[in-house]
Symmetry: C2
Subunit: 341 residues, 2 copies
């Protein structure tokens, strides 16, 4: 017996800002799960800037989503029926799911499915215990080589990765954490509610002057989630031996992987013996357990929390994704599809 489900497929490849016009909402018949398959009911979807990259023809760290194929994302799904002995009806799993109300899936993706705990709110799997926190953790420690006393600057500081990075920087002994966000309200928020000591408003401030004012001895560690003009401003204000962690390019979300402009001040890396380094979270998979133990401890101690912006309804998935790139949300962007049975 099949089950009817709504389904979002990719209609066309965005060349700039992604939006609802690039997706199509249809229906699909979801079959009974076969051997090794699991029938899930979607509960929540996570939205992450990296999903924008999946819509480009390539190259990327995974195959691009094909036109006409279902859009996918990190999701929490309740198991309704299972041909996989590791998951039983009633379990809630965290894994890559298609943007559907119901789906038959197999545990064979880049990140294995995990059974989630019910000891804390389900959405915490995406926010404070999500891959954005892990990304900030490894980006600061392994790539940024954070040291006690560092002056740390973080772009996209009101986002999920950025707000976690600000708190983690403090936990690791940063002497000052400067956050970059868009508009006075978000700038106020990252200082008053977040872990930032000072804020830079990328929509209104003179970036190079403001960085120089707030970090007169230079920036030791720049955790860059956005790229764009702030990257050039920081390159002018690096401390000796500075580390620029290239975590993302939200500023490039408008035009795919083609940056409108590269960091023209990159030669200042020479003057300051500084580095810019990128990374993929999956590289650190062997250390995820250790990281989650640290993160769990800091959450229990009240040192680490991540705000959530939750919208509702599968029909709003593309608009929610767009919100990631238009600076609408604070903290982790989540879509609720249904309550568990």
């Amino acid at each position: 017996m099949t089950k009817e489900s709504r389904q979002w497929t990719l209609k066309s490849r965005p060349t700039g800002l992604v939006g609802p016009e690039h997706f199509e909402l249809g229906t699909t018949q979801v079959p009974e799960p076969g051997e090794g398959e699991i029938l899930v009911k979607s509960l929540y979807f996570s939205f992450d800037p990296t999903q924008r990259g999946w819509l480009n023809e390539g190259p990327g760290y995974m195959d691009p989503i094909q036109i006409g194929a279902p859009m996918i994302g990190s999701g929490l799904g309740q198991v309704l029926a299972s041909g996989d002995p590791e998951f039983a009806p009633g379990d809630i799993l965290n894994g890559t799911l298609p943007w559907q109300d119901y789906a038959v899936v197999k545990n064979e993706g880049m990140l294995p499915f995990t059974k989630v705990s019910t000891d804390f709110p389900l959405t915490w799997n995406f926010s404070v215990f999500g891959i954005t926190t892990l990304t900030a953790y490894f980006g600061l420690r392994e790539v940024g080589e954070i040291k006690e006393g560092d002056v740390v600057l973080i772009s996209g500081a009101a986002g999920a990765t950025g707000s976690a990075a600000a708190q983690l920087a403090k936990i690791h002994g940063a002497s000052k954490v400067i956050g970059v966000a868009g508009g006075p309200e978000k700038c106020k928020w990252i200082v008053e509610e977040g872990a930032c000591d000072a804020a830079i408003d990328y929509k209104n401030d003179d970036l190079a002057a403001k960085v120089a004012e707030l970090a007169p001895d230079g920036v030791d560690l720049f955790y860059d989630n956005t790229g764009g003009p702030i990257l050039d401003a920081v390159l002018l204000n690096l401390a000796e031996g500075a580390r620029v962690v290239v975590c993302g390019g939200i500023a490039s979300g408008y035009s795919g992987w083609e940056m409108p402009e590269g960091p023209k001040n990159y030669l200042f890396l020479i003057l300051k013996s500084a580095k810019m380094e990128g990374f993929l979270l999956f590289t650190y998979a062997p250390k995820f357990g250790e990281a989650m133990a640290d993160i769990g401890k800091w959450v229990q101690e009240g040192k680490l929390t991540v705000a959530e912006t939750i919208s509702e309804g599968l029909e709003n998935a593309p608009a929610t994704m767009q919100g990631l790139f238009t600076g609408k949300n604070k903290g982790k962007t989540i879509l609720k599809v249904a309550d568990p049975d």
Copy 2:
């Protein structure tokens, strides 16, 4: 008693390509050396891309040369009279000297004066035993973390630093060395006379396609002396864990420190967990002795040599400097001013 000498001073700051129009040739009266001072007769001057940076208003790793002040460079000078007990008449010293026939100087610059050996040709102090070879040595080893089997790509491969880097890459076990140079003649030269296994002609080749063809599994180590379009082409073709050594930006010599465009493909650093890192040679000063011992051994073994392009006459100093940026020279660019007495 003073001594009359020709002297090149800085007339105006170039905003693009440096040339004779930015300097003025006059005469100056050189006094007898006082205590701690040395009267030298200039024999040879070295020309290095880094000198272009000294002409900009700043910021740089040293104070900019002022308008009206003498232009300086690495020089070999014969001591004619000395108030410094470490140097005696007849000695030949290697140090920062003004572009003059004669000058009174003090041993107080960033790099201390050294007495040079007469066991090998004087110009070797600038070519195979010069700071360009040291730069390639530390850039490859300390910043580029060169490993046996690496596919190494080198821009400015017909230059002094680049041609030394190609040979040093081979010495350190690179599986393939690809050089970038301008025009078919230089490209032939870096393969037939230099240590490159293959060449890319930045004036005529489709850069991204050629890098992909020559390094089908990606570039492990890019030693970048030039910046510009080749940097973007390599960023599209990085191997996992690649290292981009930012050694210089000759391509930016036309416009001072302002790059015409930054590397717009820098986000590929994320996909390949790669880094771009700059450095200043002076950082490694404590290891210079060790490095020179290695270099001396490789020179004796015939594994390392650096070509020289020598012009003559102090009056040609600015034109010789310009040649660094217009791709006229092979190997080390040197100007001969006079023979030793």
